[in-house]
Symmetry: C2
Subunit: 149 residues, 2 copies
């Protein structure tokens, strides 16, 4: 099973992660269609459902996204009426993102998503646990390099 040619596309784990990410986004696209949000937007909502009212900075830190991505995305979410954006009174540099009532109400409709997703993926728990561990390990190594500057 050794790889003769390191340039051979199929042998590359990175390509699989690249492809898998898009397949997963596709799954979420279907699951989130009713909620009228995208996967990255759903990630923001997960944070806010867990703890309402966070700054853009905090959200960026948790999702590893910068303002160039978040600012326009959060504006779209504001237009859709699921979040509010307002400057912090304490520190005018910061923008606080909080849920609207509509945004809060969506939580209930989203509760079923993780289980549906696990169903779609249809892998047994043992394998998922190993995968989770390996991904965590890999992520730790890569982010150790990247976030240290």
């Amino acid at each position: 099973m050794e790889d003769q040619n390191p340039l051979l596309l199929e042998s590359q784990i990175c390509f699989k992660i690249y492809t898998l990410e898009r397949e997963i986004t596709k799954l979420y696209r279907n699951l989130l269609e009713d909620l009228d949000m995208t996967y990255p937007q759903y990630l923001v909502m997960l944070l806010l459902w867990e703890k309402d009212a966070m700054t853009v900075k905090e959200i960026g830190k948790r999702l590893f996204l910068d303002s160039g991505t978040l600012t326009p995305m959060l504006k779209r979410m504001e237009v859709n009426g699921i979040i509010e954006r307002k400057r912090s009174a304490k520190d005018e540099r910061s923008v606080i993102i909080s849920l609207t009532n509509k945004g809060k109400e969506l939580k209930e409709k989203a509760e079923c998503i993780p289980s549906k997703l696990v169903e779609d993926i249809s892998m047994d728990n043992a394998e998922l646990t190993i995968l989770n561990k390996t991904l965590t390990n890999m992520l730790y190594r890569l982010q150790g390099e990247t976030t240290s500057n």
Copy 2:
């Protein structure tokens, strides 16, 4: 280690894959900077270095990308002088993508990339093998659903 709240962000494998994909793209960005190409463009080049002259259709099938992504990307690669695009004489609907001399010459400069990447990731072979297997499995399940329509 069981998860109380299934909506908790950190517990989600999908988020890790989403994050990992961007970390990997970041690694490639650095490695490919000299070659003046992006990661998706590099994937196209891998295919062409392996077998020159493919249609857009074939490339899309291998990379799971559609013409909405490929057409503008291939045009950029053409502008950069690494590939050529021309209509097939046999079937005017198809566009054949082939390497220019500059594109062929880049292969040599790219030979070192996989090893550098493995170095950056710095995971042992056993773990990489398991990861590869699990990713393949997961991909098989997801694409089995998605590509069947």
